[in-house]
């Protein structure tokens, strides 16, 4: 087998498979047809099926010859990585069989069905002209190689994918995406502080060597007034040393924090208490602790629900029982997956409403601070912060609240099948929640369903450093081998060049390197063809700054703490363990909330929140900071069809050649707009004398915002438009003058992938694009018009 592959060890296979460096073709079968899903256009595609060390690849017959010089893409559009295969089923003339490495096939398969862990189902049909041996052999080969059950197989898989020298070199030369915030260095956190306009907080590097807490990130944001030496004492008071850390600031001045549960059996010294309070309250007077421990689903619940959902959607092939159509809905309900989605969204919506009230710290507390805290904390930000609804912002968010914050990806995803008890698709639950938001407010997101789907699928691929560790510490240790001594100075730290020559240890790329996984056509669909309506940067509500000043003064006073649990506020005396002795005197009267409000109180608050929006001034219709509050009632929480049902047999068998023929009308129109613009630009180039007139004609449409902003803000127009384009024009205006724009900041503008994918809908709205050029030269009318065609050609 290996000898066969050595023929094609380098470069392209004769039949068109573009191998990765070092990839070996183990087996191939000709004249195979692949059944296409509805998303891919439906119908059939004939070509050649390959099985390599790393993937099952399918090359369509008449596919274009790939460019040999192009960067390697791990998986082609029709490929599936071996590691994401879960089951191999061979369908014979009269029977089906689950193929395992040890079993023997007694028939020639006519059809090969691959069930994947990411809920895809791939179906290949062998033709009569396919040599029988090829059909049998490739089935065996896939069955033997796919099993990722042991750590060894994972390792060999990773090596197959990334282990070759060329690949390692290639990976080490890759630049990180500069447009997103990686939050791996203190600079990233400072940027985040600046972006959200949070003052009174600083980045502490006290955990730089993971001495204080092994699971916390290197850098944590804590109140400015707590010195590192004081801070060190607080770690012991929290489970795993996960102290309250700042995550985000709401534009109305509330701060969002997260922490683990308190260590109870510890003596609180007086100094400690002061620091603990400081850490908890930031600069605010109020602190609401949101308890996520009890009401949220436990990881085990989530795992069970997900398993049930899988069974429902994929059918259980071994027992060949599927849910009858008329019982589908109740079965769906009984999986409880949607309940859990609803639960997370509800909690996040509650927190959003709390934050909206302003001037408090909202602290999410979970015993471990590594699962539900991640979900809720990031959902809150997706709801409230438009920046987090762009691709770059969302990636930064996942980086901030999941990857560096120490979500136990490795255990939860359970690549190695070592931690079956710990396995739980918490991250997938989060993605589902984001999808629910997206489905309800599609126009408010820059990222698309395709993006969420891509992220969903890459979770099942054990290749990305983002998901291959349980904490930042492990990640650093892995990539550097010298965790204790080396401190990166800047954020653009590349994976070190000198990886030791152990073949078992390839460098892992981050998941955000999408070019590694997906072709540019796929990536073009990650963002909406139409950019969001330009929301004017919010007029900084004055109360933010003034009130902030005010609350700075009363530092001596111990703030009040409330517990939000089961949608009620309460003030249990033992909420803060160090206060338990002397508490209760202040707030005795408010011991319990009236029971009548207990259930729907916050729901009413939420509704009130959403209802009050339209009545606000008409000009701020799209106040970007109004939270997107999801609707959570029965009819509103839906199944993520294109994810869970794409592989389902019925969905698959019933795939129709629809989408290949017809783009989504929005895409089509966007394309049309682009065409027209190009034509227009051509025309204007040809007849420059008309230009002025035309510019006048377009001005009202495109430049209105800028003009308006110039009136409001005392910035130069380029500055404003840059901010405008950022879509998360944080309420940082006051700080603006003091902070000189840094190169990183300008680079962190969300990528309208102008240069990268010149093909599709990139230049829809001139005024959206202009700022990019505007950074370099003032956008004079004529410059604009020339700029556009120049870019797109």
């Amino acid at each position: 087998m290996m000898s066969h592959s050595s023929l094609h060890a380098r470069g392209r296979d004769v039949l068109g498979l573009c191998c990765l460096p070092g990839e070996c073709v183990l087996q191939r079968a000709v004249l195979v047809r692949k059944k296409l899903s509805a998303k891919e256009g439906g119908g059939w595609l004939s070509g050649t099926l390959f099985c390599t060390h790393f993937r099952v690849a399918f090359v369509p017959q008449d596919s274009q010859k790939p460019d040999d010089n192009a960067d390697p893409v791990l998986l082609g559009d029709h490929d599936v990585a071996l590691a994401s295969i879960e089951k191999v089923v061979a369908v014979g003339p009269s029977r089906t069989k689950l193929v395992t490495p040890t079993c023997s096939l007694k028939f020639t398969p006519e059809e090969l069905v691959l069930y994947c862990r990411d809920l895809r189902v791939l179906c290949f049909l062998f033709d009569r002209l396919t040599p029988d041996t090829q059909a049998v052999e490739i089935t065996y080969t896939i069955a033997k190689t796919y099993q990722p059950l042991k750590p060894g197989t994972i390792l060999s898989f990773q090596n197959a994918a990334l282990g070759s020298i060329e690949m390692k070199q290639f990976l080490s030369n890759r630049r990180r995406d500069p447009s997103m915030n990686w939050l791996e260095c203190s600079l990233g956190w400072e940027q985040e502080l600046e972006r959200t306009g949070a003052s009174g907080w600083r980045v502490s590097s006290v955990n730089d060597r993971f001495e204080m807490s092994t699971s916390l990130p290197r850098f944590n944001v804590v109140p400015q007034r707590v010195l590192d030496t004081e801070l060190k004492k607080t770690f012991a008071h929290f489970n795993e040393g996960r102290i309250p850390r700042w995550c985000w600031r709401h534009p109305r001045g509330s701060d969002l924090l997260r922490m683990a549960s308190f260590q109870n059996n510890i003596y609180h010294e007086k100094d400690d208490i002061r620091n603990l309070e400081l850490v908890l309250f930031g600069g605010q007077q109020l602190c609401v602790i949101v308890d996520l421990g009890e009401e949220m689903p436990s990881p085990a619940d989530i795992q069970l629900a997900h398993t049930r959902l899988r069974t429902l959607c994929l059918g259980d092939i071994s027992s060949s029982v599927s849910v009858p159509d008329d019982k589908w809905l109740s079965t769906l309900e009984s999986t409880r997956w949607l309940d859990y989605t609803r639960c997370c969204l509800r909690k996040a919506a509650e927190v959003c409403c709390l934050l909206r009230a302003g001037h408090m710290t909202v602290v999410l507390q979970e015993p471990e601070d590594r699962d539900m805290n991640c979900v809720v904390c990031s959902l809150v930000q997706v709801m409230c912060d438009p920046h987090c609804r762009t691709v770059a912002g969302f990636q930064g968010l996942v980086q901030k609240e999941w990857i560096t914050a120490g979500h136990k990806f490795l255990s939860r995803i359970n690549y190695h099948r070592e931690s079956d008890k710990e396995e739980a698709p918490v991250f997938l639950l989060f993605l589902d929640c984001v999808w629910q938001l997206w489905a309800q407010y599609p126009a408010r997101f820059q990222l698309t369903e395709d993006y969420l789907l891509a992220l969903h699928d890459s979770v099942h691929l054990p290749l990305f450093s983002s998901f291959l560790a349980n904490s930042q510490r492990e990640r650093c240790r892995r990539s550097q081998h010298l965790p204790q001594s080396y401190t990166p100075v800047n954020g653009l730290r590349d994976v070190p060049m000198s990886v030791p020559e152990e073949p078992v240890d390839p460098p892992f790329p981050p998941v955000w390197d999408w070019a590694l996984q997906y072709s540019s056509q796929r990536r073009a669909r990650f963002t909406q063809p139409i950019s969001q309506p330009t929301c004017p940067p919010p007029v900084l509500n004055g109360n933010l700054n003034t009130n902030l000043e005010r609350s700075w003064h009363n530092d001596g006073l111990p703030g009040s703490v409330f517990l939000l649990s089961r949608s009620t506020f309460s003030h249990p005396s033992n909420l803060l363990p160090w206060r338990s002795s002397n508490s209760g005197s202040y707030w005795k009267s408010h011991r319990r909330a009236p029971s009548s409000e207990s259930l729907s109180g916050l729901e009413r608050l939420i509704r009130a929140c959403s209802l009050s929006e339209p009545s606000e001034n008409n000009t701020i219709l799209h106040d970007p900071y109004e939270p997107l509050l999801p609707l959570l009632l029965g009819p509103c929480v839906r199944v993520w069809r294109s994810c869970y049902l794409r592989g389902a047999l019925h969905a698959q068998a019933f795939s129709h050649p629809v989408s290949s023929c017809t783009q989504h009308p929005v895409d089509q129109l966007a394309w049309e707009v682009q065409q027209l613009r190009e034509k227009l630009a051509q025309a204007s180039n040809r007849r420059p004398e008309n230009q002025i007139k035309h510019q006048e004609a377009r001005r009202p449409e495109s430049n209105l915002n800028q003009n308006a902003n110039n009136g409001t803000f005392l910035f130069s127009s380029s500055r404003v438009s840059q901010q405008q384009q950022q879509q998360a024009p944080s309420s940082r205006g006051a700080a603006q003058s003091s902070a000189p724009p840094r190169p990183q900041r300008t680079a962190s503008d969300p990528p309208r992938p102008a240069q990268r994918n010149s093909g599709k809908h990139t230049f829809l709205f001139g005024h959206q694009q202009e700022p990019q050029s505007g950074q370099r030269y003032i956008p004079s009318p004529s410059a604009k018009l020339h700029k556009r065609p120049g870019n797109s050609q």
Partner: protein, 753 residues
């Protein structure tokens, strides 16, 4: 006031047949209450009114409301708010006949009275009792109104309550339906029959000009339809005066092989519905159940079936729908159960229902009935398209489920019926001319006899909605259109839904006509949408994404050349003998295998059940590229049959997504479209040579609905707008307030008030 059709708008003095006492009419004349009256329609008369009545705003837990006057007229129950007339916000989708606080009497479904905190269904007996403190009206279009009666004088309250209950719930005669008094006042010139003929002709020609629908009330319409489908059948005109049968239309089409065999009141007579271009055709007939051992009758039916068979290739397949589909009572019960989940008068209940949402929907069985109907229609389509046999669908009456199945099959097969005009013609052909008993099924007269009520037409619309949902670009009309159509059934003005059969209509109209010898009154049909909506609002009926049939476009947009691309409609042999010699094995084989393996449970019992067969058919259809102007089949599996959100959820504010939902996409689309238009115009100005683009995709839009640019649209647009009611947030008091520093609280109020 409206100006309607030929009649002009002078509302003459009421000349209707009424059972209201003169005192009640006098009440209307009361001068000080005059200004409280709504814009009355011609012929509309106020029976009683009461003031002040508190109307609860529905989404409010705190039982907040609006004060106003409640009136009951012979057309509607109307509530007029005391507040200053609301600024006509961007209400582009306003019904001209009744406002958002009006309930046409026919639209009232149930009335509940709240007596001492207990909700009781009002029936005839309870009306006489004491007046309830609160009246809850459930409408057939799923609105819920709650009126508090305690603020007005007791006798007023009692009178209005009894009046409403009486007019809404009591059985009444067809003559009292508002349509007739409306007609008389819109046709004041009934004395001159000659002029009337002209106006009738005018309206007819106007209708033709506007191409609203083919009415199928003349032989020409039928001939034209036969010509269009290339049918080889015979038009029967002998029933012009209903001498043959009263249950048959005036004109209908039968197989040409059938001689003059009009016995048995037309029972068993196969009525032609539609012809497939291969020559086979779809027929429907009323077949009484075979219990009677009448040899003659049996042979009569045999002759009928033979006649159908001889239409094409001597093949026929009969399908008795009453055997395989749920009965009318099942449909009624299931729908009653289903709609309860959307009639919400207590929001807290609704909040609590979400956990059991899916299973409760399922337990009503409504979605399953929809699935069964679609399934049956697919089977019929299969016989026509694949086997090329004639199909005769039968039923006891031949006018209920037969209509559903035959219309569905025609929509799936014939792209013409997916245009607005075609769809309206189809309803006219199969339902109105086809003698569906609208009056009985919709229970317009509030008859106590429960046997014959059944939302069959709604069921049909539901099925169409499923198709629209799954293949939206194939349909020229929009979801909104279907919703409005389902509402219009309960507006007692249109002749379309008011009668049990053609004969019924003719006789009633003749009897109602003031001069017996003159031609019958002409009633507006529902297809004259200008009666209800202005042209701007009518734009919402059109699907902007409808892909109109453009030949070249299809070749451009299809990159994949599928090996197995077949002709749109296959020669009859193509399906019967699958080609085994091809390069690839026949894919249906392997698919069948796979399906059998996977979903074996479904047809374990009967491996050759029709489900399997139609699955196969479905599969083979699937492999062809989808053509929106060809055969269209629905997907029927569990996740595919969905709830008609727009119809059922539009009045429930809790589930409206502000600035979200599909409307958001639509607005975006409209923005883009207008941008395209702008750009094109600019381009044309600049350089006319560039304006025509060879590769330019055809315009997507048919007619653009105008979305209000300002204001955020909720997902239930256009039925409800962004809620701009002043709404004070109910912040959990107590602790939450103490949480807030005083000035924060002030801010909060500023923002939300």
């Amino acid at each position: 006031m409206l100006s309607l059709g030929s009649g002009g708008a002078k509302s003459s003095k009421p000349s209707f047949v009424s059972y209201v006492t003169p005192e009640e009419i006098k009440l209307e004349k009361d001068p000080q209450k005059k200004e409280k009256h709504p814009d009355l329609l011609p012929g509309e008369v106020v029976f009683c009114s009461a003031n002040p009545i508190l109307k609860y705003t529905q989404d409010d837990l705190s039982q907040r409301g609006v004060f106003g006057t409640l009136l009951c007229t012979n057309f509607r129950v109307a509530f007029i708010s005391d507040d200053a007339p609301q600024e006509e916000m961007s209400k582009t989708f306003k019904n001209k006949l009744y406002g958002e606080n009006d309930i046409p009497l026919m639209c009232v479904d149930h009335i509940y009275g709240v007596y001492d905190e207990k909700r009781k269904l009002i029936t005839g007996g309870l009306v006489k009792n004491k007046c309830p403190s609160k009246m809850i009206i459930h409408c057939k279009d799923l609105r819920v109104f709650q009126f508090c009666l305690t603020f007005s004088k007791e006798e007023d309250a009692k009178r209005i309550f009894q009046g409403i209950a009486h007019h809404c719930l009591e059985e009444k005669s067809l003559k009292c339906v508002f349509a007739f008094s409306y007609l008389r006042s819109t046709n004041p010139d009934h004395g001159k029959s000659s002029r009337k003929c002209i106006t009738r002709l005018d309206s007819k020609s106007e209708m033709l000009r506007k191409r609203e629908a083919i009415m199928f009330d003349s032989p020409e319409d039928w001939t034209q339809e036969m010509k269009r489908t290339k049918a080889q059948c015979r038009l029967v005109t002998e029933n012009e005066n209903f001498e043959l049968s009263q249950r048959l239309p005036q004109y209908f089409v039968i197989p040409s092989a059938l001689g003059d065999l009009f016995n048995y009141q037309g029972k068993g007579l196969p009525i032609w519905c539609w012809s497939h271009h291969s020559g086979c055709a779809l027929f429907k007939a009323s077949f009484p159940s075979m219990t009677q051992e009448d040899g003659d009758f049996q042979s009569h039916l045999d002759t009928m079936i033979t006649a159908v068979a001889r239409n094409y290739l001597y093949s026929v397949k009969t399908e008795d729908l009453s055997e395989s589909l749920p009965t009318l009572q099942d449909i009624q019960q299931s729908y009653n159960k289903f709609k309860q989940y959307f009639l919400i008068d207590n929001t807290t209940d609704f909040w609590l229902s979400d956990v059991k949402w899916f299973s409760s929907l399922e337990s009503s069985g409504w979605l399953d009935i929809i699935r069964q109907c679609l399934q049956k229609a697919v089977e019929v389509v299969e016989c026509l398209e694949k086997d090329n046999t004639n199909v005769l669908i039968t039923e006891e009456e031949g006018t209920d489920l037969c209509c559903v199945i035959s219309s569905l099959a025609q929509i799936m097969l014939d792209p013409y019926y997916r245009t607005l005009m075609g769809f309206q013609s189809l309803v006219q052909k199969e339902w109105v001319a086809g003698c569906h008993a609208f009056l009985d099924r919709c229970n317009h007269l509030h008859q106590k006899d429960k046997e014959c009520h059944s939302p069959v037409f709604l069921l049909f619309l539901e099925c169409v909605w499923q198709l629209v949902q799954q293949h939206s670009p194939a349909f020229q009309f929009s979801e909104t259109y279907l919703t409005v159509l389902s509402d219009s059934v309960h507006v007692p003005i249109f002749s379309t839904f008011l009668f049990n059969s053609a004969h019924h209509r003719e006789s009633v109209m003749k009897a109602e006509s003031p001069i017996a010898q003159s031609r019958p009154l002409s009633c507006p049909t529902v297809w004259d949408w200008s009666v209800q909506f202005d042209s701007k609002a009518q734009n919402f009926f059109f699907n902007p994404l409808y892909s109109e049939k453009v030949k070249h476009e299809r070749t451009v947009r299809r990159p994949h050349k599928h090996k197995h691309q077949r002709q749109l409609s296959l020669p009859s042999s193509a399906f019967k003998t699958p080609t085994k010699k091809g390069f690839f094995k026949d894919e249906t084989d392997s698919l069948k295998k796979m399906l059998r393996v996977k979903r074996i449970s479904r047809w374990m019992g009967s491996p050759d059940s029709p489900v399997v067969a139609s699955k196969e058919f479905y599969e083979s259809w699937q492999q062809r590229p989808l053509d929106y102007h060809g055969l269209l089949l629905p997907s029927l599996d569990g996740p595919s049959v969905r709830v008609w959100m727009q119809r059922y959820l539009r009045w429930i504010p809790e589930v409206h997504i502000m600035g979200g939902g599909s409307v958001a996409i639509m607005t975006k689309l409209m923005e883009l479209l207008s941008q395209v238009e702008d750009l094109k115009r600019v381009l044309e100005q600049r350089d006319p040579s560039l304006a025509t683009q060879p590769d330019h995709p055809p315009p997507l839009h048919h007619r653009l609905p105008s979305f209000g640019s300002s204001g955020r649209l909720s997902s239930s647009f256009p039925f409800t707008y962004s809620r701009n009611r002043s709404f004070k947030p109910i912040i959990p008091t107590g602790l939450m307030q103490s949480l807030m520093v005083a000035d924060n609280l002030a801010n909060q109020e500023d923002e939300t008030s």
